[in-house]
């Protein structure tokens, strides 16, 4: 979570609100911010640190580990209509890559801005080639987009 705090400005530029969730109390969140996270991120945690003591929120999101009594690493991107556009769930020992979340948000925002007229192929980042789905593109993606040159 320190990586999200340290790079929070990038998320703000994209208009993304952040809520972190764990089974720890809000009081422990404060102490974690004060004692550790603020030193790692060189700033106080700027987002909402929610407490899900009984794991009720984690259960409906499918990320609560009943046996361990903790939540897995689960990341959900939710659009302005409240629709979940992406999710990534990992077991605890490996951390996430925030730049991948940012890339996905940018891609979903592009699709939304074009009302689905343009879609983002594999490895898309802003400025790269988009595709316009339609009858003319069927069977012709290979002419428009190359996994070797455009990926």
């Amino acid at each position: 979570m320190s990586a999200v705090a340290a790079n929070y400005d990038k998320l703000q530029e994209l208009g993304v609100e952040v809520i972190s969730v764990s089974v720890d109390s809000q009081f422990v969140h404060k102490v974690w911010n004060d004692q550790e996270l603020s030193k790692m991120a060189e700033r106080d945690v700027p987002f909402h640190m929610a407490s899900d003591g009984p794991g009720n929120v984690g259960k409906v999101y499918g990320v609560y580990d009943e046996a361990a009594g903790v939540e897995l690493r689960g990341r959900f991107i939710i659009d302005p209509d409240g629709v979940i556009q992406a999710m990534e769930v990992m077991t605890p020992p490996v951390g996430r890559q925030l730049s991948e979340t940012i890339r996905q948000v940018q891609a979903f925002q592009h699709v939304r801005a074009t009302k689905g007229a343009e879609v983002c192929p594999a490895g898309w980042t802003p400025g790269k080639k988009v595709l316009k789905p339609g009858p003319a593109l069927v069977g012709n993606v290979w002419k428009e987009w190359s996994p070797l040159k455009d990926h």
Binding site: M1, V4, L11, L14, G15, V16, E17, V18, I19, S20, V21, S22, V23, D24, Q26, V28, H29, K30, W32, N33, E36, D44, V45, P46, H48, M49, A50, S51, D52, V57, K59, V60, Y61, G62, V63, A68, G69, V70, E71, R73, G74, R75, F76, I77, I78, D79, P80, D81, G82, V83, I84, Q85, M87, P92, P93, V94, G95, R96, T101, Q109
Partner: protein, 83 residues
């Protein structure tokens, strides 16, 4: 010293001196969960309201208060863990 696997506290469902009612409470839990919406990609997110710490204050955060904005919800195993 033998290392004990960290678990979490849970009630047995019974008072002291009586046999555990965990079996029953588990069934009740499953029954309760059937009625709950669950998270699916492409579907509306399950709403929640939770106590929170936000910029020096103890607050309540509600997902649906952010309708109209992009939101990233991040679950993680625990404060003061290593990764």
């Amino acid at each position: 010293m033998a290392e004990q696997k960290a678990g979490c506290a849970r009630p047995t469902g019974a008072v002291v001196g009586e046999p555990s009612r965990q079996e029953k409470s588990k069934e009740q839990l499953i029954e309760k969960e059937i009625n709950m919406v669950t998270a699916k990609v492409g579907a509306k997110a399950p709403d929640f309201e939770a106590p929170a710490y936000f910029r020096g204050e103890f607050t309540t955060v509600k997902l649906s208060d952010f309708l109209g904005k992009w939101v990233m919800v991040c679950f993680y195993p625990g404060d003061f863990t290593f990764v």
